[in-house]
Amino acid sequence: MKVAFVGATRGMGRALARALAERGDALFLLGRDAAELALSARDLEARGPRAPVGHAPLDLGRPAGFADALDAADRALGGLDALVVTGGAFGRQEELAADPARLAALLEVNFTGTAVLCQQAAARLATRGGGLICAFSSVAGDRARRGNYLYGASKAGLSVFLDGLDLAYRERGVRVLCVKPGFVRTAMTAGLPVPPFAGEPVAVAAAVVRAMDRGRHQVYAPGIWRWIMLVIRALPRAVLRRVQF
């Protein structure tokens, strides 16, 4: 594959970009911090057979720049055929509730920006016969919880968008994969209490690569979260009102 990648510098994105590089996929990195992008590009060049790994600026909070970023990736890769978006914003419920500007920015990045970018890329891929769009949503978007519904809402919107994008574009050759990580130990979640079934980025990356190869439209990682969320989605509202989670 020839992959434009948003979020490869950290966490699950770093692990997934490495997994793709190691199996020989060509990568082009997009993101806000040029210095960080350059360091991750060097890491991926050393790990995989496809060098050089280029990079260009992209801010998920600024859709006006998306076309330029995709153009840069297209040029460097000689026509991209996949977009991966692992980047996004995170905030604890109490911080987001107390800071309207931060909440607005998180909703903007996680939903609006990511949806607009994926929509634009899907249209681009459809005109050239297809490809893959893979974006990271979250189990938090599967059911509202009082403890993180603000972050969860941004991901719920993204999950519905990706589900629809897959329905709309699959017959035009564009596969869409919605990744729903459970709790994964990354810098983003460092300092939060670690629940049972916490995952590691490397394992998530392996699960995502498998799902890509099998043409899935959705994957929970670690896999057990599929069953956990099945139960949580089925919980009666009266139960959710009572429990503190």
């Binding site: 950290r10 190691e22 360091l39 991750s40 890491d43 050393a46 790990r47 810098a187 460092a190 300092g191």
Partner: protein, 453 residues
């Protein structure tokens, strides 16, 4: 307030231990993977994968800040001709093996686990089964990038800021945060090891066997049955290895590791003296006896314990102490025998004791290995009795001009440490120049160097 400052402030308090699970500290751990000093001069200590056994990566005071660098693990450059690797300090040897062994490159020196970071390998100046021939890890390092106490990034190496370099190699993280490392990997012909094992009847025979093997074998090590007594003290198995040629390795495929893990703490009665006696006896029966030669995978040779995740839980909740000392060659076998006999008399069971001959010491001020013999063993933590035993062993080591390994130590007293380290004053002078306020300090440096808690 900067991002690093805000982050450090709100980190939750957690329990933290070394691999031996004793002692237990309380710390705030920055796991962001962007190693940076918080503003305001708060003391810090770096931490990698937590494989140091004792208190080397615990904060100086309860609730202190620990900077874990395992997420700073990017490769920044690799020269496929020379094997020169430039990386962030949190890169692990496991990752180096995964990426570079298929291309024919191996860490120049490796300790008994691959789950260590490159930064920690430098800070502890780790040694391996090839010390008699190749020396310690720091001797393969060409350049380090540190964040020093004033927050500046300072490069150092064997010729650049040499004193800072020599104080940092083996300096247990007390000169600055190591953020980048450039080292030379070793070219190998295959991931397979030609291994010879042979039973030896006693300590003298073991030392002679190690000496005899040193010239022809890049990797040597001995395993000692700690529970053998009297005339059999020091009996064990001599192992020597070298990288197999492609011809010798032909047709073999590396096993895909099935990661076993110890899911819970073992009950405290499990590792009782009788069980240990049997374990040691069976191991000796299995691998002892006449010379055997076979080809084994690199991980079975170098990292047998990595096959069992969280094996430190086998010692139960109370944890264990690891003791490793080195004695100069001139001391001969007698003090080693004295140490083994003292352990036997105390009933301080050990899974296995490892013995290894070391080559010349490096120039780094606090580097552990010296020309002579090193002995490593572990013992269940039994409170005051264990501490007293280790002080006793230390007295033997000091009397013969030896020293202990700080990556394992949790017990040694400051006055004993000072007597073990002939170059401690030189090291202190360099440290004081770069970090006059001792901003980089740990529970270990409080204990051994008298740093403020």
């Amino acid at each position: 307030m900067s991002e690093a400052g805000a982050r450090a402030r709100e980190l939750p308090l957690e329990e933290l231990t070394g691999w031996g699970r004793h002692p237990v500290g309380r710390a705030r751990v920055d796991r962001s993977g962007t190693p940076a000093l918080p503003p305001g001069g708060e003391p810090v200590i770096a931490r990698g994968l937590g494989r140091a056994y004792g208190d080397a990566a615990l904060p100086a005071a309860p609730g202190g800040l620990v900077i874990e660098h395992t997420r700073a693990d990017r490769i920044l450059g690799f020269d496929g001709d020379s094997g020169r690797l430039h990386c962030e300090a949190g890169l692990s040897l496991a990752d180096i093996l995964k990426v570079f062994l298929p291309r024919g490159w191996f860490p120049p020196v490796t300790p008994g686990t691959r789950f260590v970071t490159v930064g920690a390998c430098v800070a502890c100046d780790v040694h391996g089964k090839n010390h008699h021939r190749d020396g310690s890890f720091g001797q393969f390092v060409e350049r380090l990038l540190l964040v020093t106490a004033d927050g500046k990034r300072v490069a150092c190496g064997p010729t650049l800021e040499r004193e800072l370099f020599l104080a940092t190699v083996g300096g247990m993280g007390l000169t600055g945060l190591i953020v980048e490392v450039t080292l030379r990997l070793r070219r190998v012909e295959s991931p397979w090891i030609v291994l010879e094992t042979v039973g030896v009847e006693g300590l003298e025979a073991m030392l002679a066997g190690l000496k005899r093997s040193a010239d022809d074998w890049p990797y040597t090590v001995g395993w000692i049955d700690c529970l053998a007594r009297d005339h059999a003290v020091g009996r064990g198995i001599l192992m020597r290895g070298r990288h197999a040629t492609p011809m010798e390795a032909a047709g073999r495929r590396l096993p895909r590791g099935f990661p076993l893990t110890v899911p819970v703490d073992a009950p405290e009665w499990l590792l009782n003296p009788l069980f240990m006696r049997w374990f040691n006896y069976l191991y000796y029966r299995l691998h002892g006896g006449a010379l055997k030669r076979r080809v084994v995978s690199y991980d079975r040779f170098f990292y047998p314990l990595d096959a069992v995740g969280q094996w430190n839980r086998l010692y139960g909740r109370r944890g264990f102490l690891q003791y490793q000392c080195v004695l100069p060659r001139a001391a001969g076998a007698a003090p080693l025998a004295a140490i083994l006999e003292r352990l036997g008399a105390a009933g301080a069971a050990s899974f296995l004791a490892v013995i290894k001959d070391c080559g010349p010491a490096s120039d780094a001020y606090l580097s552990f290995p010296m020309e002579g013999t090193t002995l490593a063993l572990d013992m269940t933590y039994r409170g005051a009795a264990s501490l007293a035993l280790i002080h006793e062993l230390n007295a033997v080591v000091i009397a013969h001009g030896g020293r202990v390994y700080l990556a394992k130590d949790a017990v040694t007293r400051a006055e004993d440490f000072a007597r073990m380290m002939p170059r401690l004053a030189e090291w202190r002078a360099v440290r004081d120049r770069w970090d006059p306020g001792h901003r980089f300090r740990s529970a270990q440096s409080v204990r051994l160097l008298g740093d403020r808690a």
